[in-house]
Symmetry: C2
């Protein structure tokens, strides 16, 4: 079987009530059941989580970040150490983010021009130059299953002038990414290239962007520039505008999203893949997503609480740990506290996506949405009875 | 079987060449094969290590610290949450350090008198008062298998006046600890009390201290005030002086020690139990103990090294991680780097103690000592060939 034949996406079931679909994305490192949540392993590690634990939690496809790995340890080192899968000690599928979002949202930019972007390295202050070709080359050295095109993410999705310019540049840069990737072997490299649609909050720009990237007949397409500070209605609209113009027989990846409500909003609009730092970053801050709602484990009301964290969604790694112990570990900044909260959040996210996949088949997605969202965004305070000190 | 009957120690084999012995310490939470190394879980967690991993590494008896747990979350909270075993999520034996060492070596002391010590809490600045009786009560609330007596650890083992006064006070305080512990039920509480011998670097004081504590006919005895900055010869002597006067049919615990060479030095002098923060603290600082010697994982020479860390002592948790990846995780301060180095060090320590136990039976302890120590204290630099950048 050629490398090209290893990539593919097929829809297995469609929701009778919404635009949601259940499917499978095939990659050289195995299939990914969709809709799926992909944990973020920015610098080659999902923070605080051992790869064995990721497997046990049900993670399948995980992310690495091109910008961060380019800065440290450098793609040549990752390549010498056997590529990103061996580097992350992960034999499942891996996707690399192009660094576009990081460069435009966080980097100290020195110059943006049609050719690319020059910015200052956060590691050593050196000038770094990213062009579409260079970003493809770096990702080929990292050797993930899926690489992302280098895009220009506009800072304000409601600024039509900025959005239009950035979106059109994103299309020209995608053209250059595709050309470089094809020159280097295309799918025969073992790495598929996904294009990214921009277009901000504007229906015509989102539609035009989706149609522009689809011309390249890639393995999959992503929607970028969503969840950058806009309100929920604008976010839903942006996803709808783009998704309607992406082909049904290709996976749709909504980048940098999200939370339980985001998953329902987007899955109903035909989204198949998600990534976000939410479960891991919130976990390190001792904010946990549970079946009862959001819990702040630092709250003193949990001090003497002998209950388990989430009996309705029990991560095996949390077995035997009471909320009082988790609160103690949080208050004393013990590593194990951050580890356990991260493990729980990832378990909750993966379990939620599993339930979403099952509900799509069962035709019960609207019911699951109501059931989950009636609680998911509530903040759970400890009962006054446990506030003994 | 009464709680008292659950405690016991028996020698299974003695080294034909040295004073080393192999034995078993029975506790209410199961047996501990000795000589054994006990990982330190100061605040109710061995830093960065999940209890499941501790089990996999071969940990049996683990430590908690009375002072730290008293300050946070407080022994009442630990008791409400089911006692220290449930708090640490550990069903094996647990020992609590009395806090004596911490109070005398690290606390901001306000007053030391015959009755006890007053010091400032590092958590909130409040005044805390520790007396022998209070330390017994706190430990009974924590409910470990073994509690330690509250001792006065002299700061300079060579200052005869200070050592003599602290040692004599330690004996009076042990008397009060024993009285309180017996009043509270003695062995029927489920917690055995170990006495601590002081005596600094002085043969007569060490002998007198060992003889004084043995009068109480306890389940086990510890040697304190060793490895507090003195040289190796003084350390060996202190252990010899004390050990010779401790009964052969009781376990001997050398507190706060050590490193591979310390284990050999002490085991040969009849020591059965050890605890130290070395493997965990060094691990968090990316200093690892290996079959080849000490390795600093931050060294840039490991950047592109695709070799495993220690093929002769492979921790299962390190499987698939190259030295280059461990170096990257160390340089980027990723939690996983500290976790993996800690797991490796604990594996190395437990494996070394296992080999020591086997060598005692086989009569090959001197050979094992030569084999291990010819390398254990060497610092391993990367071969120049791997220093590519």
């Amino acid at each position: 079987m050629s490398a090209a034949a290893e990539f593919g996406y097929r829809v297995q079931a469609e929701c009778p009530h919404t635009g949601a679909r259940r499917g499978v994305l095939d990659t050289p490192h195995g299939p990914v059941e969709t809709p799926a949540f992909m944990p973020v392993g920015t610098r080659g590690t999902v923070k605080g989580v051992h790869p064995r634990e990721l497997r046990e939690l049900g993670s399948r496809m995980i992310l690495g970040n091109t910008l961060h790995l380019h800065l440290r340890p450098g793609e040549e080192t990752v390549a010498r150490l056997g590529g990103l899968h061996r580097f992350m000690n992960w034999d499942g599928p891996v996707l690399t983010d192009s660094g576009g979002y990081q460069v435009f949202s966080m980097a100290d930019i020195r110059a943006i021009d049609e050719d690319g972007v020059t910015f200052k390295s956060v590691v050593d202050g050196d000038r770094v130059r990213f062009t579409p070709e260079r970003v493809v080359d770096i990702q080929l050295a990292l050797a993930p299953d899926v690489m992302m095109a280098f895009d220009h993410c506009p800072s304000d999705p409601h600024d039509r002038g900025e959005v239009q310019a950035a979106t059109e540049r994103t299309h020209r840069w995608l053209e250059r990414c595709v050309t470089r990737w094809r020159e280097r072997g295309g799918l025969a490299t073992g790495t598929a290239l996904f294009g990214i649609a921009q277009g901000g909050a504007f229906e015509d720009l989102r539609a035009a962007s989706a149609e522009a990237i689809v011309q390249h007949d890639l393995v999959g397409y992503a929607i970028g520039g969503v969840s950058v500070g806009e309100d929920r209605a604008a976010m839903r609209d942006a996803v709808s505008f783009a998704s309607a113009h992406l082909p049904a027989d290709k996976p749709r990846y909504l980048m940098g999203v999200g939370t339980p409500i985001d998953f329902f909003d987007a899955v109903e609009r035909g989204i198949d893949l998600f990534d976000c730092v939410t479960p891991t970053r919130h976990g390190r801050n001792h904010q946990v997503f549970t079946s009862r709602g959001l819990i702040n484990l630092r709250h003193r009301g949990w001090k003497d609480c002998a209950d388990p964290l989430d009996p309705d969604c029990p991560a095996p790694h949390l077995d035997g740990f009471s909320m009082g112990v988790l609160r103690h570990l949080a208050k004393t900044n013990e590593m194990l506290g951050a580890q356990l909260a991260t493990l729980h959040n990832l378990h909750y996210f993966h379990d939620l996506l599993r339930r979403i996949r099952e509900a799509i088949c069962a035709g019960s997605l609207p019911r699951l949405r109501d059931e989950v969202l009636s609680l998911a965004d509530q903040r759970v305070d400890p009962p006054s009875g446990v506030q003994r000190s």
